[in-house]
């Protein structure tokens, strides 16, 4: 019977509209759920979500040592040539030559925050920081060298 189908159509339509209206009324009356951040005002107390990725940083401990072996796994993993690893050869106490990191060059202006370099790193030397105020007056300032001057690879990291 088409008339029954018609009435059913009307009622199911009204019901689905009511479901939508209930949802928006809930949001309208629950101001605590507002997720907007009043950014420049709450700069000190700003809490970002865990998954937010701002830029790549290299972790240094208190002895100015990092865990980067200069293996270039991150450089190979990067889809748009953001990372450039410059290596040098250190002389170990045994008198052997050993490949080590000289400069970790990071182009923030090219980075898409895809996280692939972090995943590729075998020694967890780099991670994503939550900083986001990256504006600078000259684009050359966006090319960063991540290893601090005078830093060495931590002993025991291969």
């Amino acid at each position: 019977m088409f008339i029954i189908k018609y009435i059913k159509e009307v009622f199911s339509g009204l019901k689905s509209l009511a479901v939508g209206l209930r949802r928006t009324l809930y949001y309208f009356t629950h101001h605590k759920e507002i997720i907007t951040e009043q950014y420049p005002d709450n700069r000190e107390t700003l809490k970002l979500s865990d998954r937010f990725k701002g830029e790549v940083v290299m972790l240094h401990d208190e002895n100015n040592e990092h865990a980067c072996t200069g293996c270039t796994a991150c450089e190979l993993a990067c889809p748009n040539a953001t990372i450039k690893i410059i290596t040098q050869f250190d002389i170990t106490p045994e008198g052997k030559k050993k490949k080590a990191l000289d400069k970790f060059v990071y182009h923030l202006e090219l980075c898409t925050m895809c996280n692939l370099c972090i995943v590729a790193c075998p020694t967890d030397a780099i991670k994503m920081a939550q900083t986001f105020e990256h504006s600078v007056y000259d684009r050359s300032e966006l090319t960063k060298i991540l290893n601090k001057p005078g830093s060495h690879i931590r002993a025991g990291v291969e």
Binding site: V10, G20, R23, T24, Y27, F28, E33, I34, I35, Q38
Partner: protein, 358 residues
């Protein structure tokens, strides 16, 4: 207690003491005109701010909160910005019609103010065909939209205007039929008589399910008639940039914008008058004590409270439902609303004849 009708009577008698009747008439008309323009300005500011706040809260945002305390002066600042902007007329446009269209929109909105009873005994024009006047004048609105769309000499504007024409003409039918349900029940086209017939209960309570159905149809139809989402096909930002007012800028655009909000207010005022009793306080049958308490609330508060409740309802719809396609829009009217309201009007007539309402 000081009411609007006391103030108007006082001004009237004061003017009559000073001037002769003709000049009293002229001055009163001027006062009424200034009041209407003032109400327009205030309504425009308040409704724009209200819309933005309601939209923000529904979308879990904060809304305007920088200009003035809690963002109260945001719409005022926007108005000042629109006032100082240049009102461009495109080269290929029909200059006269292009500049004339916004004023028609405003004129229609102003004319529609006439029959509305804002408070007890406070009305611009107490005419005996108020409902008919409302339905007749509100359909002139489409002329200003078509005029704006045609004169802009822009395909998007013309498409928006044509859609708006199809939409307003078809939704006028079900809006008219749902208004007719109340006319049948109260037996009068006079808005004041309709309000007085609701002294022992509003029609939405007295009229059972048929009146509730016609109320729902009325709300849907007037949302479509005022070109608001989910029926804002005339504007359709995502498809037609801004529809009929694509080419308008500055104050000419602001007039269209203002007319839209004034129309929302007016249709909600008419809806409140017909279904929710206008300025009539909430009365329950013969509970005299309760009714007396309700009478202490001024009638203007009742009227504006009900009207703003309906305005909130329409804003709530706007920020909940997605926009319909043009074929879905016409389907909704011709396949659903019109047959239902036709059947409904028969039901209401039967109810009125047999006296089944309270």
């Amino acid at each position: 207690m000081l009411s609007f009708s006391d103030i108007s009577k006082f001004i009237d008698s004061w003017l009559r003491d000073i001037f002769n009747p003709t000049w009293t008439m002229v001055i009163e008309m001027m006062i009424a005109g200034v009041c209407v323009i003032g109400l327009f300005a205030v309504l425009g500011l308040v409704l724009v701010l209200m819309e933005r706040k309601v939209a923000a809260w529904i979308q879990i945002r904060l809304g305007p909160n920088r200009v003035g305390p809690k963002g109260m002066l945001q719409s005022l600042a926007d108005t000042v910005k629109l006032l100082v902007k240049e009102g461009m007329t495109p080269d290929g446009a029909d200059k006269f019609l292009f500049n004339f269209a916004p004023f028609i929109a405003m004129m229609v909105a102003m004319l529609l103010m006439a029959p509305i009873a804002f408070a007890k005994d406070f009305q611009l024009w107490d005419m005996n065909i108020g409902v008919l006047y409302f339905s007749a004048i509100s359909s002139i609105m489409v002329i200003s939209i078509l005029m704006a769309g045609w004169a802009s000499n822009n395909k998007y504007s013309l498409m928006g205007a044509m859609r708006s024409g199809a939409q307003i003409v078809s939704y006028e039918l079900s809006a008219g039929l749902s208004i007719l349900a109340i006319v049948v029940l109260s037996g009068s086209l006079n808005l004041n008589d309709i309000i007085l017939s609701q002294a022992d209960g509003w029609w939405i309570f007295k009229g059972h399910i048929p009146v509730i159905i016609s109320f729902i149809i009325f709300i849907i139809a007037v949302t479509a008639e005022t070109n608001r989402a989910p029926f804002d096909l005339a504007e359709a930002e995502s498809e037609l940039t801004a529809g009929f007012h694509t080419e308008y800028s500055g104050m000419k655009f602001a007039l269209f914008f203002l007319a839209e909000y004034i129309n929302v207010f007016i249709v909600c005022a008419i809806g409140a008058t017909l279904f929710l009793g206008g300025w009539m306080p909430f009365h329950i049958g013969h509970w005299d004590a309760f009714n007396h308490v309700m009478d202490y609330i001024p009638s203007s508060v009742w009227f504006f409270g009900k009207t703003f409740f309906l305005i909130f309802l329409i804003m709530w719809f706007r920020w909940t439902f997605p926009r319909l396609r043009i074929d879905q829009l016409l389907n909704l009217e011709w396949r659903f609303l019109l047959p239902i309201s036709m059947f409904n009007i028969l039901l209401v007539t039967l109810m009125a004849i047999l006296g089944w309402h309270f």
